[in-house]
């Protein structure tokens, strides 16, 4: 069977803050897909929850003109990622092929340097081995490694789904199409605020959204080249 030659992908995500309601379905979806352990009340309250995506909620204005401002924050899969050069053992490493930042759990030795250097604070650490009582461990996703104590982890853009999608397309002898690959957060998002796709394809939905006049990137001034594009909310539509 002829294997289809693939072009270099640049996976990207667009988050439309105008339709993001802050409902947190993405947070739960991510946890259920990626075998993220739960930590309990005390630990999560002490900043040790392992949420790969979290929704930052700021308050703007004063009562009665007050309004929450939601901003889902996850690994931005930087093109020029601050976490990568600081890892002494190449556990945080760039994927040349998929153009995302990888975290290789079995290589990680747990210096937590990458987490300090991530301006988006999107990395979380396994402070303990988290107990999942039987039979709850049955739902663990076999496509995602269960991390042990002492390793860093973060959003992977659901790389297991990326590989599964590519594998499926390859097996069927066709190129990967826009919408074939959907990470768990985008799949769950009730308002379709999260769009995932190939930024190198100008026709993809995510590329079209990235060209919107409302688009911006978080902490762009740092030169990290984030692959997550935010679209301004609050009805600020460009002309």
């Amino acid at each position: 069977m002829a294997e289809v030659t693939e072009e270099k992908m640049k996976w990207g995500m667009a988050i439309d803050l105008d339709v993001c309601t802050g409902c947190n379905a993405c947070v739960t979806a991510c946890a259920m897909e990626n075998n993220i352990p739960f930590t309990g009340e005390d630990e999560s309250g002490y900043g040790r929850g392992l949420h790969w995506i979290r929704i930052q909620r700021y308050w703007h204005g004063d009562y009665p003109e007050i309004k929450p401002d939601y901003s889902p924050m996850l690994c931005q899969q930087c093109g020029n990622a601050p976490c990568e050069p600081v890892c002494p053992v190449f556990a945080a490493v760039h994927s040349e092929e998929e153009q995302i930042n990888l975290q290789v759990y079995n290589r990680c030795i747990g210096t937590r340097y990458c987490a300090n250097n991530c301006p988006y604070l999107s990395r979380v650490f396994n402070w303990f081995d988290y107990e999942i009582p039987e039979p709850m461990a049955y739902y663990l996703n076999p496509s995602v490694t269960v991390r042990r104590r002492g390793v860093m982890e973060k959003c992977t853009f659901c790389v297991q789904r990326i590989h599964a999608g590519q594998e499926q397309a390859k097996a069927e002898g066709r190129p990967v199409q826009d919408g074939d690959i959907v990470p768990a957060c985008a799949q769950a998002c009730p308002t379709d605020a999260i769009i995932f796709g190939d930024l190198s394809d100008p026709q993809s939905r995510v590329s079209q959204m990235a060209r919107s006049q409302r688009s911006f990137r978080q902490l762009e001034e740092l030169g990290t080249e984030p692959r997550v594009i935010y679209l301004k909310g609050g009805g600020q539509y460009g002309g």
């Binding site: 190449f90 994927s95 990888l102 290589r107 269960v146 297991q160």
Partner: protein, 178 residues
């Protein structure tokens, strides 16, 4: 302190230390040896015989063609042939017993990767890699035997020599680790 030095000079002490070291070494060596020996299987399945009569690997392990896992044959597949074949050997009687009890044979997987390695048979088979390249010369084995030194360098070496033009992709960490 002087007493301690004197103690170290006594032959009994030195022999004792030597023995402890020997035991540790033997333990380590034995452990290593155990990881390289085939685990006990419920049936001493003769791969060599089946390959010898011309059975194709994929007949019993069809999963390689479409997915990550090769899969193991069900008793119905075994029995499909073996009810026609004479069953004199004690191993075949074991199979017959499983069939009569309608019980699956509790095969022990041999070629397994650690949890953090995601291996997929399909692309390897599609790329024309022969089963023997990784699983050894099955035609000379009875039960499947683990292959030594199948480490990351071994994977990378093959990726590099077999498909140098694709090595960027084939050496991407996320190809196996996620």
């Amino acid at each position: 302190m002087d007493k301690v030095i004197a103690l170290t000079k006594r032959p009994a002490f030195r022999i004792g230390v030597g023995l402890v070291l020997l035991v540790l070494l033997a333990g380590a060596g034995g452990g290593l040896y155990l990881t390289q020996t085939p685990p006990p299987q419920p049936i001493q399945f003769p791969h060599n015989l089946h390959v010898g009569i011309g059975a194709q690997c994929q007949y019993c392990h069809p999963g390689v063609a479409w997915g990550p896992t090769a899969g193991l044959p069900s008793i119905s597949k075994c029995w499909g042939c073996h009810q026609q074949v004479q069953k004199k050997s004690p191993e075949l009687e074991k199979l017959a017993a499983y069939v009569s009890r309608n019980e699956a044979v509790p095969w022990v997987p041999v070629a397994i990767q650690p949890d953090f390695v995601h291996f997929n048979h399909r692309p390897h088979v599609a790329a024309g890699v022969a089963c023997e390249s990784c699983h050894g010369d099955i035609s000379k084995m009875t039960v499947a035997e683990p292959q030594p030194r199948q480490n990351m360098g071994w994977c990378l070496d093959c990726h590099k020599t077999m498909a140098p033009e694709n090595f960027t992709r084939l050496s991407d960490c996320s190809i196996c680790h996620y």
